[in-house]
């Protein structure tokens, strides 16, 4: 990919977004997802918060069908691909596939909170935390401190 554009989405609106860091000065676009906004009934508060985050990023703002808008943005800049950052929302995978049907898409992974070899037992938080906590505190050079077991006091 020699001349990409960046697709910024709502799970990575910080200056540390790996796509922005890896490609400074590259044209970037964020698309307000018309279908999602209407279906979810998002309030103006939520859209305003996103908008204010975006005003601090070097990014073009659009509104409509996300995949169509990203592809149109790529054509506008005569790009040969799209770089973005991984997202968890299942909708992201669907949009990425629609874009990838027409242009190569590179997905950059942000640094994980804690690196755990799969499979991780997620049946209850306690099972996950038993694995994650020592790894986290190992990073700080400390042993696991005792934490009260109960999350909500009665």
């Amino acid at each position: 990919m020699l001349k990409p554009v960046l697709w910024i989405h709502a799970e990575a609106l910080g200056p540390a977004n790996p796509a922005l860091v890896a490609h400074p000065g590259t044209p970037a676009v964020f698309v307000f997802d018309r279908e999602l906004i209407v279906q979810a009934g998002l309030s103006l508060k939520r859209l305003g918060f996103l908008y204010e985050c975006l005003l601090e990023l070097p990014v073009t703002l659009r509104h409509g069908d996300v995949a169509e808008e990203v592809l149109a943005f790529a054509r506008r800049h005569r790009a040969d691909g799209v770089v973005t950052t991984a997202a968890v929302a299942p909708r992201f995978a669907l949009l990425r596939e629609r874009i990838a049907a027409q242009l190569p898409v590179q997905v950059l992974e942000p640094e994980p909170f804690v690196e755990l070899p799969e499979p991780v037992d997620l049946r209850r938080f306690s099972r996950y935390w038993r694995r994650a906590e020592p790894v986290l505190w190992g990073r700080a050079g400390a042993a696991v401190p005792p934490v009260p077991a109960r999350r909500w006091d009665r």
């Binding site: 709502a10 609106l13 307000f32 103006l44 939520r46 908008y51 659009r62 968890v88 909170f113 505190w137």
Partner: protein, 278 residues
């Protein structure tokens, strides 16, 4: 929007003279979106200021209290303005700077772990987070729960000062203390017997940090389809962690009609007559 913007067709404006102008523009762009802007501002500058102000030790001691030293970082974390890694490193740096033992930041790190846990589950379950993870433990069949939220709740006129206060705060600011979320969710699901999905969708409409995984799976935890028992609270609990601010001005608290004025054992019997002992 400012005159003089010369943008390619379809590009949204980026220049605003004021927040009022931004709000007016958003109303034109998104006519279906209800309400006003939140007093909480988006952006990495506001996020950095909030991150610099965290006090992990005070957080650990007081986070369950409405007046506690909670970080309010969740809207920025949810949208990746701040990553969990950045907050984790800020907490570790705070330990180094203050010379406090690891225990002082343990609760904050634990709560960051909850966020990571919900995200891992979302990656695994996808849209399955909208379905009951397990059977309810309330003795009630899922079809005995209403599909929609009652109007008096949405209009903040239940007559219960606490619940009406939480609804007003949710609608006007897009942020609620986590304990208030739990109380409100418990009231919706267990006292009003509404399906958790209706409450979850409502929260996602308004919460600036509205994240389908954290939100839905927490509603399921309250409802008891992702926990071993339903989450309940009583007046003593709410009054203690809110410093009595609602009960003092609530007519239900003085005329004997407060639905939360009971022991946990009595509430269990009243709300879940078909359930076995917890």
């Amino acid at each position: 929007m400012r005159s003089g913007d010369s943008l390619p067709p379809g590009d949204l404006p980026r220049q605003f003279a004021s927040r009022m102008e931004l709000q007016a523009t958003l109303r034109q762009l998104f006519p279906e979106a209800v309400g006003d802007l939140s007093p909480i501002r988006g952006g990495s500058q506001a996020a950095a200021a909030a991150l610099a102000a965290i006090d992990p030790a005070a957080y650990g001691r007081s986070r369950n209290h409405l007046d506690g030293a909670v970080t309010r970082l969740s809207p920025w974390i949810r949208h990746g303005v701040l990553s969990l890694v950045e907050v984790r490193e800020a907490a570790f740096a705070w330990l180094q700077r203050t010379g406090q033992p690891p225990q002082a930041a343990a609760k904050l790190i634990n709560e960051l772990g909850w966020r990571d846990y919900w995200q891992r589950l979302w990656r695994r379950l996808g849209d399955g987070i909208w379905h009951d993870r397990e059977p309810l433990k309330t003795g009630q069949a899922p079809e005995h729960y209403a599909a929609a939220l009652p109007a008096d709740l949405l209009e903040a006129r239940t007559g219960l000062a606490c619940m009406d206060g939480f609804v007003q705060e949710l609608h006007s600011t897009g942020w609620l203390h986590n304990h208030a979320r739990m109380w409100l969710a418990s009231y919706v699901v267990h006292w009003r017997r509404v399906r958790w999905q209706a409450g979850a969708r409502w929260f996602l409409q308004h919460l600036l940090d509205g994240d389908p995984a954290s939100n839905n799976l927490s509603w399921q935890w309250v409802a008891s389809c992702f926990s071993s028992k339903p989450y309940l609270f009583n007046r003593d609990n709410l009054e203690r962690f809110s410093s009595g601010r609602y009960c003092r001005v609530c007519s239900a608290a003085t005329d004997g009609t407060c639905p939360f004025e009971a022991s946990y054992e009595q509430l269990q019997v009243d709300l879940f007559p078909g359930a076995g002992p917890c």
